[in-house]
């Protein structure tokens, strides 16, 4: 995919000169913004690769656990998300903080709708956890309501719950205290409690 100017998006906004004007101004702003220096991208690539020695694995389950994964993942989350030490306008170089480990893996979650009106939630945690629970708008965000079951002791947890069709926001709670979301899944707007993932349940879409 190139960064060539995009065609005007199709849809009913195309008939609205008011939206046309705003849309064109936004696209013009993209086009007029001076390009980021090439060395900036190269620096980012070097910084990311400096934290890893080996290629990332395709599957969490296919990796042999090492003690420093947990430390690396925790350091990554602190460095990238919390950054309690970060001054408001300067942290360009602080990203080296995630170099605390190599081959760190991110917590990952997934959902799958099942016949019968239930949804299966899965959560993979690179490092060990004593317990994981699922919280969401479907259980009042109560970390005791929906404990997840560990699969084969490999850091993979799951829970199956009945859900009404529609949108549901959820998160995972590790060891009763740490709320974790999947950085790659859609996230809901923060209602003041921190980020949460979101899933739209539509059983009619099942094959």
């Amino acid at each position: 995919m190139t960064d060539a100017p995009l065609p005007f998006p199709s849809g009913d906004e195309g008939h609205d000169p008011f939206a046309d004007e705003i849309g064109e101004r936004l696209r013009a702003s993209y086009r007029s913004l001076p390009a980021a220096p090439a060395e900036q991208g190269e620096r980012v690539a070097r910084a990311v690769l400096a934290t890893t020695m080996h290629a990332p694995s395709r599957r969490v389950g296919g990796l042999r656990p090492r003690w420093w994964w947990g430390a690396a993942a925790a350091a990554l989350l602190v460095a990238v998300v919390a950054r309690p030490w970060r001054p408001d306008l300067s942290r360009r170089e602080a990203d080296s903080a995630f170099a605390a480990g190599r081959n760190a893996l991110l917590p990952s979650g997934s959902t799958s709708e099942e016949v019968g009106g239930t949804v299966r939630f899965e959560f993979a945690l690179p490092n060990g956890a004593r317990k994981v629970s699922l919280v969401g708008d479907f259980n009042g965000w109560d970390e005791r309501a929906t404990p997840m079951v560990q699969q084969h002791g490999n850091g993979s947890w799951s829970a199956r719950i009945p859900l009404a069709p529609g949108r549901h926001d959820y998160a995972f709670v590790v060891d009763g205290t740490r709320w974790v979301v999947d950085a790659l899944a859609p996230q809901a707007p923060d209602a003041g409690y921190g980020p949460t993932n979101t899933v739209v349940v539509d059983f009619e879409a099942l094959p």
Partner: protein
């Protein structure tokens, strides 16, 4: 070489392949993040975080998806989280050395290579979710179905954010001080 091929080579441990993906998408990601966050340094931080997370999660990338869409899902999440950590307050626009003030003129009045500071400033005063929707819809050229898949938000809600965001942005730009005034 396609994105999918670069992903395969990245998984196989070829660092140059990931470097090529970063080179291919860094500028696009940075433009989006800059318009979302309103500050260059913040945009650079968030984009770097995004590529880090993309690399760590490259094993979860589904080849049936467009890499750019997958990357932008991470990027939008990271922008949201950054704004949350910043307290979701309206951030004072900080003009850096490279920014050149422009009048609130139509796009034709913005010379190539000159930043539309008035627009970025106005964007920074929008609700972040409206700002995100406007950028995904117009600047990134996504369809509502793609935006729904990326954000998990329903189509009607997204349309409303775009509509209200457009109205608010237009009002803010109309009030923007003219450079020549």
């Amino acid at each position: 070489m396609t994105d999918a091929e670069l992903v395969v080579r990245t998984r196989a441990g070829e660092p140059d392949a990931f470097g090529a993906l970063v080179s291919r998408y860094y500028d696009a990601a940075w433009r989006f993040a800059y318009h979302m966050l309103g500050e260059r340094a913040d945009a650079e931080d968030v984009v770097q975080d995004t590529f880090l997370r993309a690399y760590l999660a490259i094993g979860r990338y589904d080849e049936r998806d467009q890499f750019r869409g997958w990357l932008f899902r991470i990027l939008t999440n990271q922008c949201r989280n950054f704004l949350t950590s910043r307290g979701r307050r309206s951030k004072r626009f900080v003009q850096d050395d490279l920014a050149i003030e422009t009048a609130s003129s139509p796009p034709a009045g913005v010379a190539p290579g000159v930043e539309d500071v008035a627009l970025v400033r106005a964007l920074s005063q929008l609700d972040p979710l409206q700002r995100e929707a406007l950028l995904l819809k117009y600047a990134e050229g996504l369809e509502y179905t793609e935006m729904t898949a990326m954000t998990g938000v329903g189509e009607s809600a997204l349309k409303m954010r775009v509509k209200r965001g457009s109205e608010r942005l237009r009002a803010l730009l109309a009030k923007a001080p003219d450079r020549d005034a």
